[in-house]
Structure formats: structure tokens, C-alpha cells
Symmetry: C2
Subunit: 490 residues, 2 copies
């Protein structure tokens, strides 16, 4: 099948799919989850072979993926996400105010580029696909070349759900560069620039995400791209907590830095503290705990090579000391803890770049002003974390209050790894954490990336979408003349 | 003052302004409205001289502008717009689920480019400025060169409100190319590409809006641009209503096409119907009603010249007939009604371009399929309208249901001119109506252009923003563990 056939099929399927009810789309998402579970051990084994991730981790990730699909199904049954808003007519106004109602509608066919580090949860049937299918968009997934067998298996589960639920045949399509005899970059560009495509979801590198944004904006009719591109997730270590709890925090952070061989976009890559004996003790404890960690194999040889290259480059910079003693090599992703003083860090942009893997650099500042300068110098982040006692947090209240300027999620006294899938999760953040800080890639609100508001002016009740009809047949929360209510409109 | 001083002042003012409460920001917006009203006749006279708009129209627009400012003040006092979402901790989960809360926060300094056709409501203190100041962004307005005295006067009203309310001095700044000794395009580009700027609002031409989008995306750190760029606002004329109500609809549409010398981005520029004697009668009635209209002077000589050029170009295309008899000239913006058959229209892209002014073209189709083909061939629109009897609408139910694919607002049996400022208004639409169909430029929800969600994980209650504190001190609607409530969290 040619690419233009695939994209025009996606457009045709979209125009059919918009007539399906919330209930029908919810049942479709549930069927996808069930069918993924039915793939059983074969899916876990295939993914483990392709990604080197251990079975237990993959079982957990499969659980998360199915949970996400069911969460969006529940969102559909609840129905409130359409943001139904009604303003009734005021014929006595000059000029008369007409009846105007608005709700979210789907944008159109969405292209999804999955991540290598989450072969299930941020890939073929991951959050982007699930959220787009939920709201009525058709989806084309470009298979990630690092786990193409896994991706194809998951695609069969979705295709079976299409048949099970008698959905439009091309509401989901799975394409790969190999099948289409194209290279990866050309295929990505062609998909993003195809006239039928309305939006793009991407999880991966900054170079990749930025290229897609540029392709999408260069179109005759630009379309939105939501790319989540990783982060260094700075952690602020305030003085009192380091003076009193250095060892406990070191243990906690050794776990976070080495979790999953450091292959998370929320991995804490930069720690920032004020010089003291206690901070030095903390570094020693942290290095010791990291050294005790036995590294597993990384996702693929390209990532292992990049970790070796990037961590080595950082360690070789002038003024950088390394506290761990075993350096990464071509086979082993040994964790690295580096340290540097603030002035050296501020003068060398290489040191603030993400090193994807179990690596972190501790920036030692001479005082809190220098700490703020280091923090503020960093790019936009997915997360930032503040570690502090009550005394610390009160003393630095303005720093705490302004923390949101730096990141999509601000953690106090915790670790940034672990992204809870829930209504209040923001997984995104100012560029280059994502291409648009107004959206999140995780949680129910991730659907907003694929929705546009539409006003219906002066419509006869029976022609309106159900969400906007007087009787409120979906029993959803609506704003009527400024008041939230589930009541029918009389 | 240099441009870099202006933008860095905007950044400093933003970081101060975020500490101000909803009440304080509401009082500031109210003060701006009061101060604009206090400018009295001087403002109306200045604007009338610069724009040729009659005093009555400008008084109405001033009223709308002050209404918008007060609407955003009311939004702040209500407080729900922050979309407060709370998920409580579940320590028994594996791994334990932390307490995570989210809300909208302002993005940063916003640059606003106003429109020439609305010197108040979409300009200096217009919807973009009001919505950005409301949510806590600082604003830099680039004065529109076509009404620079009006813009400067309105700026004094805002600057007085800054003093009245002891706001940060640079929370609003007014710049012009003349003052900065730059040309308009260079200044626009420099503002959009300045590192301190977080987002851009624009109302105007497609060329202008597209250039700003391209500049913003070419930055090292791309930022969002919301540009509202006008539209041809296609009107579908179904058969039964034309057969039964041709004259009444002609009268209604003559008013809409000529309103304000056709200088509205919701002006109905394309009418689409199925060939019949009744449609021909409709065209005759419409031409007659349009001919009875005495044209006023357009906004400025550039717009008058463009109307002359673009309407003449359209009228000269092969296959185009003109039903009005007095053509526009260099001084008089006489209304034009042209007609063409569907095949000629579809083959000639010039005919689907916007002619800004009192111009409309009636596309005559041989059947409903051709009508759909013409409709679908058009670019994204701010509005589309369907005129039909109950019989028409039921007979063409699928056409009605899919109308939202074409536009941000779909009107049934009305005219597209007249943009109600309310909660359910969508003034935007698929490109090139706007640069991002996920947002609206008018109504309370226009604030979403300048807001990003932020997650607060594991925060002590007293350090959280008020909107997320357990006690719900703002008394706002919040989602707590999936349930909408105004209750405090115990």
C-alpha cells in the first residue's frame, strides 16, 4: 500500500469514526486492552528480546498500557472531557444574543511516533494512540525500528479490536519504513507533511522532535506537533536537609538515578547544592550507593554507545571530578556521579546536556544565589525537585513559589522518576522538555492535544451533538450561562 | 529604551506579577476599563480620524472592549479557570501513589499585535492583552501603524491603571516601530524572536500571521503563536429554503455582507447553492439590496486599494458574472456580488481567496454533491453557515453533522458577522483561519492560549498555591479524585 493510500484511508476512517458514540469508542479501547493481555508471554518475550528490558519491568509496563486504555474508556463513559458550554439566547439584547454552544471535537488523523524506552506505554498502543483514538481521531503509528516485532504484535491486537467492535477498518494503521521501502527520516517527514494529517505525537530525542516540529510548520497548512523530548530534571538540595539527612537522600537518589539503567526521561541528571561538609558527605554516600549497583544491559547498542560517548565527554570536561570509580564501557552501563563547581558548570553548556543513562552531575554552589543562577540557567524541564526540611522550605519560600517557571511538574521531597498516570499529571514542560508547554503527554488531559473547540450557533436541538442537547442525554457536567450543572436545559 | 531593555523589563515584571492575587489582577482590569471610559470623546475622535470608522461604531467597540476587560475580571473572581485538579496519595499502592495536584499557571511575557479593523477590541487593550494580563502574563503591545495615536491613548489608560493599582511598572509596555527607529517587520520579528518572550497573539492578514509563526518556530526555543487570520466564511444555501424564502435571506445577507464596509473577518465571502430559478431570484434580490447600500470610507487607503485590486481581479476571472452594476473605485467601496459555476470555481484558486471588503461570490452547483465538493475544497474557516428549512436540514443531516470539520463556529439560519463575547464563543478554526485550531481568540476561554498546566507533587499544604490548598480558600470548583466539587479536602 502506498503512503498516500494510507493517509487518505486515515482521513476516510476519521470521517466515519466521528459518528461512533462515546460508548462504542470506550468498548473499542477496552477490547484493545483485552487483546494486548491475550497476547500473553509471546508479547513479553518478543519485547524483552528487542529491548533488553527484563520481563518483570515489561509486565509492569504492559499493565500500565492497558490501564491507560481503560482510563480513557472511563473518561469517555463519564463524558465531561468534551467541555460542553452553553450560552442561551437573549433576544432582548441589542443586537440579540443568539444561542451558542461549544464542545471539543476531534482534529483528524494523528500520526504517532513511539519511544524506544517504553515499547508498550509510549509506543504502538501507548498514551498518544490511546488518547487520540479515545476522542475520535484516526491514528497512524510509525513503528519504532528498535522494537518493530513488538510493535507489529501490538498492532495485531488493535486490528483484532477493530474487527471485534466493527470499527472503520483504517481507524488505526501501522506502518514501518521497512515495509514501505523508505528510510526512517523520509517516512517520518512524509507522514508529518501529508495533507490528510491533522496532528503529531512524538516521544524521543530533542533532535527528532525538533525535526518533526520544523517539518510540520513548513507545511502549506501547519499542524501541531506534541513532542516530549526528555530533560535533565534538576534537583535542588537545600542546606538543612543535607545537613540532617544526607545518607537517606543519597540512598533514595541512588535508586532513582539507576532505576531502569537510567533510561527514563525523568531521570535526575543534575543535582544542585550549596558547598558544605554535609554536601560532600552526601556525594560520598551517593557514589557509594551507586557503585553497589550492578548495571543491566541498555535498550540497544545505539543507546549504550551514546551513554558511553556522552558520559565520557562530560567526565572529560575541565573541572569535572568523578566520584564513582568504574567508568561505563561498551558493554556495561556503570553509573556515573560527577561533580563540578557552579562557575565551571555555568561556563560550559556541555555539562547541562542530558546524558541518557544512569548518570548525574552534582553542581556545588558557593551560596543560595549561585544555586538559583545555576537552576535558572537550565532549559525548560519535565520536572524539577526541591529537597528541603520545613525550615529550608520556609526560608526559601520565593524559590519554592517560582519553581513552576522551570518545569511541568515540581516535586518536593521525592524523586522525579515514576510518572503517575492520573488526572493531575503533567508530563511535558517548557521547551525543550516538550514542543508545547500547554499540553501533557500523560494522564486524562493528554487528550487535549487532539481536540479543538467548536461553536454551534442557533442549532435546532435535535441536530446538536448529544453533549449539547437540552436534555443532557449523556448526563455530563456542563456550563450553562456560567454555572456548572448536570441539569437539563428547560 | 532599547528593545532588549523592554523585553527584559517584561520578564522582570512577569516574575513580580505572578505573586499578585486574582482579586488584585481583577481590580487592575477593572481600572483599565474605567480609565478607557474616562478618555471620553477624545478617544472616539482620535480613532475616528485614524480609521474612518463612524463614532457610533467606535462607541460600540469601546463598550465591547471594556466589557471584555470586566469579563476577565469576573473570571478571576470566580477563579475556576485555573482547572484545579487534585489526586490524593494512595500509600498502599505499589509503588505508592504520591499526592499530585495540578493547575494552570501563566506562560510568561506575551507580545500582542493588534488588528487594524478593530482599533479597540482587538488592539492595545483588546482581547489578547486583556486575557494575557488576566492570567498573570506581562504584555508588550506593538502599536498598529494604522492607528498609532489611538493605540498610544489607550496605552496611557493602562499605564494609569498600573499606577492606580500599584502593579509592576512594566507589566504592560507599548512599543512602536517609529519610537524604536525600526521598520514594522524588523520590530515584529525581533519581538517574536526575543528570548524573554513566551507567546504571541496576532490578529490580521494571513501573510503577517504566517510570518510570525515561522519566526517563532525558527527560534532556538520555539514559542506558540496564536494568529487569527481571517476567512471567507462559506454559506451553504439549501434548496427548500431558497425556494421558499429567497427574498428574506437576500435582505439578511445584504446586511451581513455590507456591515462595516465588509471589514470583518467573519464577512460571508462565499455563498454556495444548487442551481435553480429560485437561486437566481435570490441572486437578483441580493444584488438589488446590495446596490441600495451607500458605501462608507474603508479603514485606510491601503485597505481601500487592496479591495479595489482584489475585487477587480476576482471579477476579471473567466466565467465570473457580476450582478452588482457599480464597481469599486479608488474612493468608493461599492459592494460586489459575483457569481460563478462550481467547475470554474474549483479550477481557479483565486476565486476562493478572501476579498476583504463588501464582496461575496455565489457559487452555483449542479447538485448537492457538487455543493459538498465546493465546500470541502475550501481552506479552514472561522465560520461556516447552513441556511435550510427543517426539511433541508433533515434531508442533509450528514452534511450538517460534519460541518464542524470546516470551521471553528457553525451557524444555522443566521449570519456569521457578529461575534458574541461569551463562554461558548470559538473565534478561530483550522488553518488558515488561525495558526492553531485548538484555541479561540474571543471569550473567556481565550485565556488558554497563555496558560500551561503545572503539577505539584507531594507539596506541604501551606506552600501550595491557594487554588490547590486543602481548605479551598478560593471557593472554586475542583476535581478531587475524579469528582467535581467545591468542598474542602479533609
Amino acid at each position: 500500500m502506498s503512503l498516500s493510500t494510507i493517509t487518505s484511508n486515515a482521513q476516510i476512517a476519521f470521517e466515519q469514526y466521528i459518528s461512533f458514540s462515546h460508548q462504542q469508542r470506550a468498548a473499542f479501547l477496552e477490547a484493545i486492552a483485552t487483546n494486548i493481555e491475550s497476547l500473553g508471554d509471546e508479547l513479553i518475550e518478543t519485547a524483552s528480546q528487542e529491548t533488553n528490558l527484563p520481563a518483570a519491568r515489561l509486565q509492569g509496563e504492559r499493565g500500565r498500557t492497558c490501564y491507560q486504555l481503560r482510563m480513557y474508556a472511563a473518561m469517555l463513559l463519564k463524558g465531561d472531557y468534551v467541555d460542553a458550554t452553553i450560552e442561551t439566547a437573549v433576544p432582548t439584547k441589542t443586537p440579540p444574543k443568539p444561542d451558542i454552544r461549544s464542545m471539543f471535537q476531534p482534529m483528524g488523523p494523528v500520526v504517532v511516533f513511539g519511544a524506544s524506552n517504553f515499547p508498550f506505554a509510549y509506543s504502538t498502543a501507548g498514551g498518544d494512540t490511546a488518547s487520540a483514538l479515545a476522542v475520535g481521531c484516526s491514528v497512524i503509528v510509525k513503528a519504532h525500528p528498535a522494537h518493530i516485532k513488538t510493535s507489529s504484535l501490538v498492532a495485531t491486537a488493535i486490528q483484532k479490536a477493530i474487527v471485534d467492535c466493527t470499527m472503520p477498518a483504517h481507524v488505526f494503521q501501522h506502518v514501518s519504513a521497512a515495509e514501505l521501502l523508505m528510510n526512517e527520516i523520509d517516512l517520518g517527514k512524509a507522514l508529518v507533511q501529508d495533507e490528510a494529517i491533522a496532528a503529531v505525537g512524538f516521544t524521543g530525542s530533542r533532535v527528532g522532535g525538533r525535526a518533526l516540529l520544523d517539518y510540520a510548520t513548513a507545511r502549506k497548512n501547519p499542524i501541531p506537533v506534541f513532542a516530549e523530548m526528555g530533560s535533565v530534571n534538576p534537583v535542588i538540595l537545600l542546606e538543612d536537609i543535607i545537613a540532617t539527612q544526607a545518607e537517606a537522600i543519597a540512598t533514595q537518589y541512588a535508586g532513582s538515578i539507576t532505576l531502569g539503567v537510567g533510561q527514563f526521561c525523568t531521570n535526575p541528571g543534575i543535582l544542585i547544592g550549596v558547598q558544605s561538609k554535609a554536601l560532600n558527605d552526601f556525594a560520598q554516600h551517593l557514589a557509594k550507593a551507586m557503585k553497589a549497583y550492578t548495571p543491566a544491559t541498555m535498550l540497544h547498542s545505539g543507546i549504550q554507545a551514546a551513554y558511553l560517548k556522552n558520559s565520557t565527554a562530560a567526565m572529560e570536561q575541565k573541572g569535572v571530578c568523578v566520584y564513582t570509580d568504574q567508568n561505563p564501557d561498551a558493554e556495561n552501563a556503570y553509573p556515573v556521579l560527577a561533580t563540578v563547581d557552579a562557575n565551571t558548570f555555568l561556563a560550559n553548556p556541555i555539562l547541562s546536556e542530558e546524558v541518557f543513562g544512569p548518570y548525574s552531575i552534582l553542581v556545588q554552589c558557593k551560596d543560595i544565589h549561585e544555586l538559583k543562577a545555576v537552576w535558572t540557567s537550565l532549559h525548560g524541564q519535565i520536572t524539577t525537585t526541591i529537597m528541603g526540611t520545613d525550615k529550608d522550605l520556609l526560608e526559601h519560600k520565593s524559590l519554592v513559589e517560582k519553581a513552576f517557571l522551570h518545569a511541568g511538574r515540581v516535586v518536593i521531597n521525592g524523586v522525579p522518576t515514576g510518572v503517575e498516570v492520573c488526572d493531575s499529571m503533567v508530563h511535558g514542560g517548557p521547551y525543550p522538555a516538550s514542543t508545547d508547554s500547554r499540553f501533557t503527554a500523560v494522564g486524562v488531559k493528554a487528550v487535549k492535544r487532539w481536540l479543538r473547540p467548536v461553536s454551534y450557533q442557533n442549532w435546532p436541538d435535535q441536530l446538536l451533538p448529544e453533549a449539547l442537547q437540552n436534555a443532557n442525554p449523556l448526563n455530563i457536567w456542563r456550563s450553562i450561562d456560567g454555572q456548572l450543572t448536570k441539569d437539563a436545559l428547560k
